[in-house]
Symmetry: C2
């Protein structure tokens, strides 16, 4: 079914006419694409250029949220009908050498621990090939993926890009890396696919509300599966599931509570304590690092009435660890 | 600090006087152990022998829950005082060639999808070295760990073994495999450590309420850290994070909802659908397999108001997959 080469059939630039910041099935498609074709999308960063390499935390407090997230598209998939499944093979992503992780002022209520971080935070990353440089010699491996990937909803009118929906959108599944395939349920004629909000890296959970946000290009190939039916997105991936793609040392902190969100908050809070007490990071830097590089797993969700969520920190990101 | 050999200094058999099925700081220690010493604990299965290699689902419906979980211990750690951290190095676990995964009748309310599975379910596994044999040629790699590992709580009187607590207990952290170290906050003089409920394998989440439950022996070495302080358990682990210990193909199903538990339920329900529709398993067998071999990750917990949890199925457990 799929061709073996990755020749690009269509290029969608991130110019104004190709960018939208709401899901809406009434948008005109910027291109019609046949199943099997390859498209390269140029994607703006999540703030649509409001944060740049020279920005400071003060710029975060001044953010206008209306342009978030600028998505590239929509493209119409020739022949797609409601009830079909659209398969999107992620062929590759390229960053531009920089990115950022931020959390807004706590009063905005964004991020898992918003109440504990009243002041906004920002770290601008130098991205060098497969590595992002953090403070104190900490290097985070890069595994880029699109944070937002979806098709238009069946319901008419504009819909915000922040919440993910059954048709996809702001999924933030960090394993949708090059080589992965995403399956989305088609809700309208032509599917009307858009993509954006690329992350150079992210921890499972994206706890402070951003990964390593970066302008990026994304290459995808599209196929239609007319004999399948799914309710919400599914995917195939080879990971990576650890920074090196093989077993390696992790430090884990548990959160134990009778509510799954409270357990998640506790696991992250304990990891921030660990990064502060044992690794000397400020709590703000630790929170940013958790969002970019620490993974949340649900260990058990059945031992009534207490659930366990843990945060997993790869030790190899530190300069004193064997790499 | 730690000795390099694993010579066993103490053996605690699973005889009646060494087994208890409630946490209680008033229990007499079965042994006093010095920091640095190695102890081998014989541990009964979670039902205390009510399920055996020849059991059927009818035996699950007749279970007496009072003996669950039979824990081996407690042992007193010489010199442990409240506020210390007890480090437990997991040196090794050995199964006895069989194990089981079960879910009780739905009316008992145990398990993530109890309402959807009114009848009890049971699968008895043949465990052969590092592999557990499921139906239809499906082989699950074994990575044994103690499901329950903890110290006595500060509060007097008996406490159930089902809920995990800040002092540990029924954590079901599947990465506490041989080579890992668990850190527990000591709440009473002597710490009063117990262990049990061993699992030959488990998916993150343990969604149907059991892993591969098995009688097993556990070897641990103990150390006291008097200069550290933690609120809830922490750990160091090298995984494994995938069945092979390196990146490999996974099939993922998302659950997207405005409640984290509902999202978790949806991810598991979609995985059961996938295992039924694409792999031909009955829904009961699929639920059991999810609990033994499918991992739950929190992809994002910040894209207000919808969270994403995904279930990850390793493709290599199927006989038609490359291994």
């Amino acid at each position: 079914m799929a061709r073996e080469n990755h020749a690009i059939d269509h290029v969608v630039l991130a110019e104004e006419a190709h960018v939208h910041s709401a899901w809406d099935n009434g948008l005109d498609p910027v291109r019609t694409v046949a199943p099997g074709e390859v498209v390269r999308f140029a994607c703006r960063d999540a703030t649509d250029g409001q944060i740049g390499p020279d920005s400071t935390a003060a710029d975060v407090a001044a953010l206008d949220l209306d342009p978030v997230h600028p998505l590239t598209g929509p493209i119409e998939i020739d022949g797609a009908r409601p009830g079909d499944v659209l398969a999107i093979e992620i062929l590759g992503l390229e960053h531009e050498g920089w990115g950022y992780t931020l959390f807004p002022p706590g009063a905005w209520g964004a991020g898992l621990l918003a109440e504990e971080f009243p002041e906004p935070g920002l770290f601008v990353w130098d991205l060098e090939g497969d590595v992002g440089h953090f403070c104190d010699g900490i290097d985070v491996p890069l595994d880029p993926f699109p944070g937002v990937i979806g098709v238009a909803p069946a319901e008419d009118g504009p819909h915000g890009t922040n919440p993910p929906r059954s048709v996809g959108g702001n999924l933030d599944v960090k394993h949708l890396t090059a080589g992965s395939t995403v399956y989305l349920p088609v809700a309208v004629e032509g599917a009307m696919f858009s993509v954006g909000d690329c992350h150079a890296a992210q921890g499972d959970g994206e706890v402070c509300v951003t990964g390593i946000e970066a302008p990026m290009s994304v290459r995808c190939r599209f196929e239609l599966l007319e004999d399948r039916s799914i309710e919400q997105p599914q995917f195939e991936t080879d990971g990576p599931f650890t920074p090196t793609g093989r077993d390696e040392p992790m430090y884990g902190t548990t959160g134990i509570a009778d509510d799954l969100v409270t357990a998640t908050e506790a696991a992250v809070r304990h990891m921030i304590d660990h990064l502060h007490d044992e690794r000397g990071l400020s709590r703000e830097r630790a929170y940013l690092l958790c969002s970019a590089a620490v993974d949340l797993k649900i260990n058990e969700v059945v031992n009534d009435p207490n659930w366990v969520v843990s945060a997993y920190l790869p030790e190899r990101i530190f300069p004193d660890s064997p790499r």
